[in-house]
Amino acid sequence: MLEITNLHARVEEKEILKGINLTVRPGEVHAIMGPNGSGKSTLASILAGKNDYEVTEGSVEFNAKDLLELDPEERAGEGLFLAFQYPVEIPGVTNTYFLRSALNAIRKYRGDSELSPTEFMKHIKSKAAMMELDSTMLSRSVNEGFSGGEKKRNEIFQMAVLEPTLCVLDETDSGLDIDALKIVSNGVNTLRGPERGVLVITHYQRLLNYIVPDFVHVLMGGRIVKSGGRELALELEEKGYGFIEEEIAAKA
């Protein structure tokens, strides 16, 4: 469903992605790990359509469409969802209003009719319950004054409401307490299914105990330098990134 080929991107004069290749098929969960500043969030932002980055080479196909040609809202309409590493605060717009606008826009994009207010409320109430989200959060402004963990939980709540087909999670686990980590993982696992792809960016193997990946990739210096199964995450946890650097040096 997602095919990234030789993707190069830069911001201002600085080259950040230097040839990423990655394929996600429906039903698969991929984890991306890598040191700080290696380009993980850049990759996620480019997928979602942030225009701060200039793609200089390569292509991204999503559902057989050229993803890079689509506006961010069209990507969401196609089924892409990015859970932000740093969710944005929007004072004056309630969570409920925000989600209703988003859900109805996506439905419209797909040619479905808008949900009635009652149907909508029923839908978000059930998702809020699943995410154990306090119902007062729904009437508060989007992320405004939310704690770090609450913001992350709110991202996954939004994802549950919008039911995307490709979920990209950028460090959703950082800032979560132990219970919240379970709730969030459970939310993601509920969405797992044969028609959905998941891409989790994380620094910690712990999350992968809950959201068990089919593949683990290591992103370093703007390239995927190593891929493997879930055991790769355990190895990284134990040895750090140093051993991969050595492997690369040895090959060179």
Binding site: D71, I90, F98, A105, L162
Partner: protein, 442 residues
């Protein structure tokens, strides 16, 4: 008696005739206020952009208008209700082109210790209260600095006729909101109208009032003056909605006098007028008082929306918070001038002023001038101004969730202004204002 300059002043045309009509309303002693106002205004005449206080507010458009007497226009209840705020459940006083409309007003069955009615009625029942306050609060006398320009206050005094009077006695709370509606409609003739409002709250009294200025057609000049006196521990919410016609001029002056521990909240909403100018002046003459001045402005087309605020902190331990927001589209012009005077005695003053503008087109402009004059040494005064476009990160967040660009913009613009409307606690007024805002931005 009139010299040449005054005889040619478009705002004083037929002045002597007008006074004869105006004198029918209210007591004999109003004439002193009128003649004092006339003399003071006549010294200067219509301001030009060379006058510092009117630098961004060109009035040359009205210099060739012939502005006559506004009276004689009627309005049906349906027409009133068709306006955005025409159906609010409140103690209501309606003035049509300055003329009181008993048919459209409803102000009976008021609780003990509460008076809401016309100035003339008030001057009968509470002569001394009206005498002590009318044209007494609206003055710069005895205040620091000299840059304020009182000429439209003087002109309103010169044209004094009908008006609204609210008087809440000691320890009384009026639960129902008050709505004072000034509706203006110019037919063939252009006119000047001088709406007037006087509010007096005694010790520990409380009330909420919406002051609406609604234009239903034509070119005219409205120069309202509102005076508010809050005795110790009184609490007053003063919501103000200005939606004159897009060819009208609106120049308002609000003066507030606060005693200790009183709380004054002004929510000042401006969507109308070809050019609209509002001055809100609060003189805080007691300790531990709070002054909250909020403003939401939306200018489209060629509108000019000019807001001047002034807070005089004369005594210690008071707080003031001020947030003025403007949304400027097309060739819209916004002006904000915020003066804060902290007098020598006013130690421990805590004053915060914020001014924010969003420019939605490259030809929209905002002029901001904070003016803090501090003569005490132990005070906390801050001001901040931001002028910009919509936040990129918020735009991207909305779009990444599927909301199309134009809709995302509309949501963010609405939210920006709605933050101020949210401070209105008269629920029906708040939803009415939100609906008008929505329409204005569409």
């Amino acid at each position: 008696m009139l010299d040449i300059k005054i005889a040619n002043d478009p705002l004083l045309l037929d002045y002597e005739d007008r006074v004869r009509v105006n004198a029918v309303n209210g007591p004999e002693w109003f004439s002193e206020i009128r003649s004092k106002g006339f003399r003071a205004y006549s010294e200067f005449g219509v301001p030009t952009i060379r006058d510092e206080e009117f630098k961004y507010f060109p009035l040359n458009g009205i210099s060739d208008w012939k502005l006559g007497h506004p009276y004689g226009v009627t309005l049906t209840r349906e027409a009133l209700e068709a306006t955005g705020v025409g159906k609010i459940d409140a103690v209501t006083l309606v003035f049509i082109n300055g003329e009181f409309s008993p048919e459209l007003s409803s102000y009976d069955a008021l609780p003990e210790g509460v008076f809401v009615g016309t100035l003339a009625e008030g001057a009968e029942g509470f002569e001394q209260v009206v005498k002590d306050n009318l044209a007494q609060i609206a003055t710069y006398q005895g205040k620091l600095g000299s840059t304020n320009d009182p000429r439209f206050v003087e002109l309103n005094n010169a044209l004094l006729s009908e008006g609204a009077f609210v008087y809440i006695q000691k320890n009384q709370t009026l639960e129902r909101p008050i709505h004072v509606v000034f509706v203006n409609r110019a037919e063939e003739k252009r006119f000047t109208v001088a709406p007037r409002l006087l509010v007096v709250l005694e010790e520990n009294a409380e009330a909420k009032l919406l002051e609406s200025h609604i234009g239903l057609g034509g070119d005219y000049l409205s120069i309202p003056v509102a005076e508010v006196r809050l005795a110790a521990s009184a609490r007053f919410e003063h919501d103000r909605f200005q939606q004159e016609t897009l060819s009208a001029y609106h120049i308002s002056n609000t003066f507030v006098h606060q005693e200790g521990k009183s709380v004054y909240t002004s929510n000042n909403v401006n969507f109308g007028g070809k050019s609209a100018r509002n001055d809100v002046n609060a003189y805080v003459n007691g300790e531990y008082a709070e002054t909250l001045l909020n403003g939401a402005n939306v200018a489209t087309g060629d509108q000019v929306l000019d807001n001047h605020t002034r807070i005089d902190h004369a005594l210690p331990n008071c707080q003031s918070f001020e947030i003025y927001k403007s949304i400027l589209k097309d060739n819209g012009v916004g002006v904000f001038n915020g003066k804060i005077f902290v007098y020598e005695d006013a130690q421990k003053t805590d004053a915060k002023q914020t001014n924010q503008a969003i420019l939605l087109s490259p030809t929209a402009t905002m002029n901001t001038k904070p003016q803090l004059e501090i003569f005490a040494d132990d005070v906390k005064c801050t001001h901040g101004a931001t002028i910009g476009q919509l936040r990129d990160d918020a735009m991207f967040y909305l779009r990444a969730r599927g909301v199309p660009k134009a809709q995302a913009e509309a949501i963010l613009v609405y939210a920006f202004a709605a933050e101020v409307l949210d401070k209105v606690t008269i629920e029906e007024a708040k939803s009415a204002l939100e609906a008008v805002l929505f329409e204005k931005l569409a």
